[in-house]
């Protein structure tokens, strides 16, 4: 039987550790993807994931269910990412993502994708990662939540604690910077985009 998040939360609050472990299993990948894209470091993203669930578990008795459990998790994770960025302020805000193996990309896309396409995708991934470094944290986070986590403007506004119109503006400005960067720094970007 598949439990909903709310049911698993209720069971966890009743002391069922296995239920919370199911929540971890369900949400650790999205939280990891969020953390990785926001801070750009694989190992640190793992740390963020661990700390997110640890804090969530500790704060579980105080979770009243006003928001979705996933939104609550995202909020914890984003706060941790923000803390990490503050700690790294003297260093580059977002370092280059660690190399993605072609084999991993192949496994994601399936065996029909050619090596050439894989290389193009990797190049484009690096271009995008470089472009994302240029964005202020708020714009970057808004784009990540929208593009990769499918949140609505309102959900992003709630998470970021800002008006809905601000979210739209952040998305527009962030995308504009990305577009300019792609046009300027990736001569083959249109081709890459077509391939992707």
């Amino acid at each position: 039987m598949t439990w909903t998040d709310e049911e698993l939360v209720t069971r966890s609050m009743g002391g069922d550790v296995d239920s919370f472990n199911q929540l971890i299993l369900r949400w650790e990948r999205p939280i990891y993807a969020l953390a990785y894209r926001v801070i750009g470091r694989e190992e640190d993203a793992r740390d963020v994931v661990q700390e997110t669930f640890l804090r969530a578990f500790r704060a579980l008795p105080g979770f009243k269910g006003q928001a979705k459990f996933s939104s609550w998790l995202y909020r914890i994770a984003l706060n941790l990412c923000r803390d990490w960025i503050r700690r790294q302020r003297r260093a580059p805000v977002m370092q280059a993502p660690e190399g993605v193996e072609l084999v991993d990309l192949a496994s994601e896309r399936g065996p029909v994708e050619s090596i050439e396409d894989l290389v193009c995708r990797r190049e484009l991934s690096e271009v995008v990662a470089d472009a994302m470094k240029l964005l202020p944290e708020e714009q970057r986070t808004a784009i990540i939540l929208k593009e990769y986590h499918g949140m609505t403007f309102q959900e992003i506004a709630d998470l970021q604690g800002c008006p809905l119109s601000t979210v739209k503006t952040r998305l527009y400005q962030g995308l504009s910077v990305l577009r300019r960067h792609l046009e300027k720094n990736a001569k083959t970007a249109p081709e890459l985009v077509k391939r992707v």
């Binding site: 002391g15 550790v17 993807a33 993203a45 793992r46 578990f57 500790r58 993502p97 784009i143 739209k168």
Partner: protein, 256 residues
Amino acid sequence: MNAEFTCRDGGALAGYLYGEADAAERAVIEAHLAACAACAAELAALGAARSALAAWTPPQTDLGFQIVSARDADTPAVQGASILRPARWWHRPLPAWAQAAAALLIFAAGGALGMRAGDVRTVSQPARPAAATQAPTAAASVSADDLAALEQRLRREIADMRPTTAAAQPVNASATDEQLVQRFRTMLAQSEERQQRELALRLTDLVRDFDSQRRVDLALIERTFGQMEGVTGPELRQQREAINYLIRTASQRPQQ
């Protein structure tokens, strides 16, 4: 929702791009896009940027976090909870103050080691060359008899020391620690002295061999020069006699 659209309104374009504009707003924007090439191009470019974002994938990694222990069965055991930690959890960058402290510690340790190594050199250098450098300088002015006498004296001293060292080897089980340490120090000092003497003896042998070889070489050189003089002397005399004969003959011809 506002059904009006101002050209280049980024927020409204973002809403339209992500499909979050309501029907009225969407209709207004679509009407504008049909007439405004700049906004249409802008929207297309933003769409291309979104497509590029799809290529950015996080690396595959093993997560598998779990709550592994709980102390209280009735309520979530917050204090007793733990999460399986990845192997590199400790790999978090140290704070700046900690890095500076570590660097200072390493620098201090390195400095201390360097000073100690310098001390060792300073202490050991005078002892080592005492025999090594003095012997060659002395060899320049001593005779073979002096070297032979020195060798004999060294051998005698070494022979005298051996019984003493052998007698010191048995250890009295009832001796106190201090006595044992004292005896050990004595043995160590004797051993060092014996080694120095043996080293001096080896150097004396070396100097003597070198001196003997030098004498042999000098004798060979002198003999070679003597042979050369023995060969060239008669030749020179014959040439001188031939020249004298020619001069004499030449001076006699006009008179005939």
